[in-house]
């Protein structure tokens, strides 16, 4: 015991300075690591920013543009070509209020349709839709025969000037009937999902003007880009 006591005290007095250096090195290493960690955390947080306000506005306005009750569609996901031309930024903001204070552009197949401001950096959302354009097709048919419309339509207008017709059938179903003879012009709504054959009653004479509005659709991509 008497020998071991001074031995134990000697090395501890030698190690005093070494401990201080180790402490300094340890603090420096720790501080550097804290700095690197903060940098990583900052980068991760910046990368996690998904611009939720812009995204919400883009998703909501794209959804409302192609909805069935939108002013620019005929039915769900089918855009009306002529109504698209009359779409203004003000009407679009009324339709989709999240766009109120944002710069936005609506593109159809890359062509800008509505634009306000310059949304260079922002969120874009795409939807797939059809653009339909309807054109009137008029043909004159003899009332003693039947006519099959080559392309499907959702409404047919018939003009009976110069004809004596009591009954009109669409695919065998009676859609118009007047005992004394039909007069003027009548519009009939028909199913878009079947080919239409129009026939008249057996005693019909003269000619009937049949006007149908077949629609032609093409596929398109609707893109809304919003930068608030």
């Amino acid at each position: 015991m008497t020998r071991s006591a001074p031995r134990r005290s000697d090395p501890s007095s030698d190690r005093g300075q070494a401990n201080l250096a180790a402490l300094v090195v340890a603090l420096i290493v720790l501080t550097a690591t804290v700095g690197v960690t903060l940098g990583l955390a900052e980068g991760a947080l910046a990368g996690a920013d998904r611009q939720p306000a812009d995204r919400r506005a883009a998703v909501a306005s794209a959804e409302r543009l192609i909805a069935a009750d939108s002013p620019v569609t005929r039915r769900e996901n089918v855009l009306n070509a002529s109504a698209l031309d009359s779409l203004s930024p003000e009407r679009l903001v009324t339709l989709a209020p999240p766009l109120r204070d944002a710069a936005f552009v609506v593109r159809i197949d890359g062509r800008s349709v509505v634009e306000r401001g310059d949304p260079t950096d922002g969120v874009s959302f795409r939807r797939i839709a059809l653009v339909s354009s309807a054109e009137e097709r008029t043909r004159t048919v003899a009332a003693d025969g039947a006519v099959t419309l080559p392309r499907r339509t959702d409404s047919v207008r018939l003009e009976f000037n110069g004809a004596d017709v009591e009954t009109v059938r669409a695919n065998g179903r009676i859609v118009l009937h007047r005992p004394g003879g039909l007069r003027g012009a009548e519009t009939v709504s028909v199913s878009r999902s079947e080919t239409l054959t129009i026939s008249f009653d057996a005693n019909a004479t003269g000619t009937v003007t049949v006007t149908s509005t077949p629609e032609r659709t093409r596929k398109t991509t609707l893109e809304v880009r919003v930068d608030a």
Binding site: M1, R8, L40, A48, R55, V59, E76, R126
Partner: protein, 145 residues
């Protein structure tokens, strides 16, 4: 007594590891663990899936709104009517979906009588939409090439 003396002698020979260095090593390991959790544990943004879901939904809506080629209420109703109708229409359905979706998307359309399109891959973001028809459910899967 002998054991105690031997241990007391052994300490100065082995040069005890400096405690601050040990603490610093533990601290660095802890901080790096926190940093790694920032780098690794953040989920990837699910924005691609939202976009793909919208594409699948649009494809299903467009198909469900199209008139049938022969019989049935809609184009999707036609392919779910019977196995024979599906076999007859599968080529046309595949071409139609391919045209609707464009070149950068692959797809699979599953009907009660079979499926058209490509095999669904594992591990990529996919969008899904289902359409109810009179003959059963039609599921549209969409993913990027």
């Amino acid at each position: 007594m002998r054991d105690e003396r031997r241990s007391a002698c052994a300490v100065p020979d082995r040069a005890q590891l400096s405690l601050p260095v040990v603490e610093a090593a533990v601290g660095v390991a802890f901080l790096l663990a926190v940093a790694a959790s920032f780098g690794l544990a953040l989920p990837a943004p699910a924005t691609a899936e939202a976009q793909l879901d919208a594409f699948a939904d649009d494809a299903g809506t467009v198909l469900a709104g199209e008139p049938p080629r022969h019989a049935g209420d809609t184009r999707l109703g036609e392919v779910t009517r019977s196995p024979a109708a599906f076999e007859r229409e599968r080529g046309a359905l595949r071409d139609r979906v391919r045209r609707i979706l464009g070149d950068n998307l692959l797809f699979r359309v599953e009907t009660p009588h079979g499926a058209v399109g490509f095999e669904r891959p594992n591990g990529v973001a996919t969008g899904r939409a289902s359409v109810a028809t009179a003959g059963g459910e039609v599921v549209v899967w969409v993913w990027y090439v």
